[in-house]
């Protein structure tokens, strides 16, 4: 602004006061939007909790006794998610490059992986790895079995996301790198991949959030994670309302924390972006 007025000289009048007022107005509206957002959430959630309380069907002492036991399962849920995320991301990176490979064997192996995993239910995959593989002599403890099943499953979906991301990097980027005599691998690693990852972060974030929730399926092979604890305590005491509410609340909080983290990451990357 200062530069502009320097260039055009003293003929330009001072900034009219209305500009400041418009700016202040915008800021005020944004502030009140946020305040109302928080208020609406607090009121709605308060009503819900109040109604449950008023129904007198909730037993606070039961919650007090068992909540710590259920919450302890959150740690395992987080471990499952972290493990599967690492596995899925690795598989997806390799899978995406393979799906773009001109080599027919590499391409078909990767395509078969994506096709099988996307074409069968996750629950079947979990059961297969935990219950069926031992029949072939491969016995896996429940936790690694669950992590492998989730990682394989999400790896396939993310393969397709990464592939689309790589293809979305403008061709000129690759050409410019090649024109600088960069070998193929370097072009991929230093120029294409970093940009592809920026492109796919929002989509991958959604996958991770879905994965946090799908980790509940691992309770079916008696991994003592969040849902397993919630439902076993609930079933034994015939109080599933309380225990499932606790489990749901924890899943919700986990996904919210993750979304927040994702938003930050996106904003940070946007700074250098195009």
């Amino acid at each position: 602004m200062a530069r502009f007025s320097e260039l055009t000289g003293p003929t330009v009048p001072a900034e009219p006061e209305v500009v400041t007022r418009i700016d202040a107005g915008q800021r005020r509206r944004r502030f009140w939007f946020r305040v109302q957002f928080v208020l609406v959430w607090v009121v709605l959630i308060g009503l819900l909790v109040g109604a449950l309380w008023a129904s007198d069907k909730i037993d606070p002492s039961f919650i007090g006794t068992w909540a710590p036991f259920i919450l302890a399962g959150a740690g395992l849920t987080i471990i499952i998610c972290a493990g599967s995320i690492v596995l899925a991301t690795g598989l997806a990176l390799v899978g995406a490059i393979a799906r773009l490979s001109p080599n027919p064997i590499i391409y078909s192996v990767a395509s078969l992986y994506v096709s099988i995993v996307r074409g069968t239910p996750l629950l079947v995959q979990i059961f297969f790895i935990y219950f069926a593989l031992p029949q072939l002599g491969i016995v896996l403890p429940a936790l690694p079995a669950g992590i492998i099943a989730l990682g394989f499953n999400y790896g396939a979906y993310m393969t397709e996301i990464f592939r689309a991301g790589i293809q979305a990097v403008p061709r000129g980027q690759r050409e410019a790198a090649e024109a600088l005599a960069m070998p193929e691998g370097l072009v991929m690693r230093r120029i294409v991949m970093p940009q592809a990852i920026r492109i796919v972060v929002p989509a991958i974030g959604n996958e991770f959030i879905a994965m946090i929730k799908d980790s509940a399926l691992v309770s079916t092979i008696s991994v003592t994670e969040l849902l397993w604890r919630a439902s076993s305590v609930g079933n034994q005491n015939f109080r599933t309302l309380e225990t499932l509410l606790i489990a749901a609340l924890v899943y919700w909080l986990l996904t919210m924390v993750f979304s927040l983290f994702q938003e930050r990451l996106e904003r940070r990357m946007a700074r250098s972006d195009r």
């Binding site: 530069r3 502009f4 260039l7 403008p170 000129g172 980027q173 050409e175 410019a176 790198a177 090649e178 024109a179 600088l180 005599a181 960069m182 070998p183 370097l186 230093r190 120029i191 970093p194 940009q195 920026r198 700074r271 250098s272 972006d273 195009r274």
Partner: protein, 293 residues
């Protein structure tokens, strides 16, 4: 002509069954600035892209600074051919219409990436080199900016510095100002003109006739995948011999547009009376002061 740095021999390029280059022979001497003109679709860009093998020629050979590489359209020579192509690319730098800076890297990172990882320079060596060329294109103050914060003209000047950091034997420009707003063209042409006068070997595909007249040692007119006429700018541009060259230039001067490029009116004498055009490359022009956004 001095000893040739680039020698293109009977080069042909087919896209499918479309015969785009129909036997091009071209020699470029050390320190020479060759400008290639011609209507859209005449094969100018394809010729440049075949010289550094961004497009694999179908027939013929390319020689840059003593390294001769034959077309290998069927990929018979595999890895060896790819190795030779990289050697050619080390010798021949290229500038693009769309700049193609790496958006996830700062200006400095853009400049040192290939020198460090391809040429194997030490990082501080590469930085020193990058700073020298940044100063040359007048963008020292943009060293740590990201490309998104640069104007089009600044982007192209950064791209020129990036190519110079590879210290190539020849620089190829593919319509370097076609994607620029008219008021930003001058700053890029200035840098190029300085390079030409310093004896940088250049091959430039351009529609800027005024620039070609000023900076070219030789103008090459292409039509339908062949070189129709070439010679000193004053001869080719003012006294063309071939009927096709005459027709192209007549249409160009009458309409003020390149046939097939009607969206860019008033191309011809743009730089006359353009105050930005004459400023030295080292000093920032008035528009440098305003960062976009």
């Amino acid at each position: 002509m001095t000893e040739p740095i680039v020698r293109v021999t009977d080069l042909h390029k087919y896209f499918g069954h479309l015969h785009v280059l129909r036997g091009v022979d071209l020699e470029v001497g050390r320190g020479e600035a060759v400008m290639i003109i011609g209507r859209s679709g005449s094969g100018k860009t394809t010729l440049l892209r075949c010289i550094n093998f961004l497009a694999e020629p179908t027939l013929g050979a390319v020689e840059v600074d003593g390294l001769r590489v034959e077309a290998d359209p069927l990929g018979r020579r595999g890895r060896q051919h790819r190795g030779e192509i990289r050697q050619i690319r080390l010798r021949a730098g290229m500038l693009f219409q769309e700049f193609n800076l790496f958006p996830h890297m700062s200006v400095l990172q853009n400049l040192i990436e290939a020198p460090v990882r391809v040429r194997g320079l030490a990082r501080d060596e590469a930085v020193a080199l990058a700073e020298r060329y940044l100063a040359k294109v007048g963008l020292m103050d943009k060293r740590d900016e990201y490309p998104a914060r640069l104007s089009g003209g600044q982007k192209q000047r950064t791209a020129i510095a990036r190519a110079l950091c590879m210290e190539p034997k020849v620089l190829m420009f593919d319509e370097p100002t076609s994607a620029l707003d008219p008021e930003l063209i001058g700053e890029v042409l200035n840098v190029m003109e300085d390079l030409a006068h310093e004896g940088t070997t250049m091959i430039v595909v351009t529609h800027e006739m005024h620039f070609a007249r000023e900076a070219a040692d030789r103008v090459v007119f292409m039509e339908e995948g062949q070189i129709v006429e070439q010679g000193p700018p004053e001869r080719v541009l003012d006294d063309p011999q071939d009927a096709r060259t005459k027709q192209f230039l007549r249409r160009f001067l009458e309409v003020g547009t390149v046939p097939g490029h009607e969206e860019q009116p008033g191309h011809v004498h743009k730089h006359e009376g353009d105050p930005g055009h004459r400023h030295a490359a080292g000093e920032p022009a008035a528009w440098d002061a305003q960062t976009p956004r």
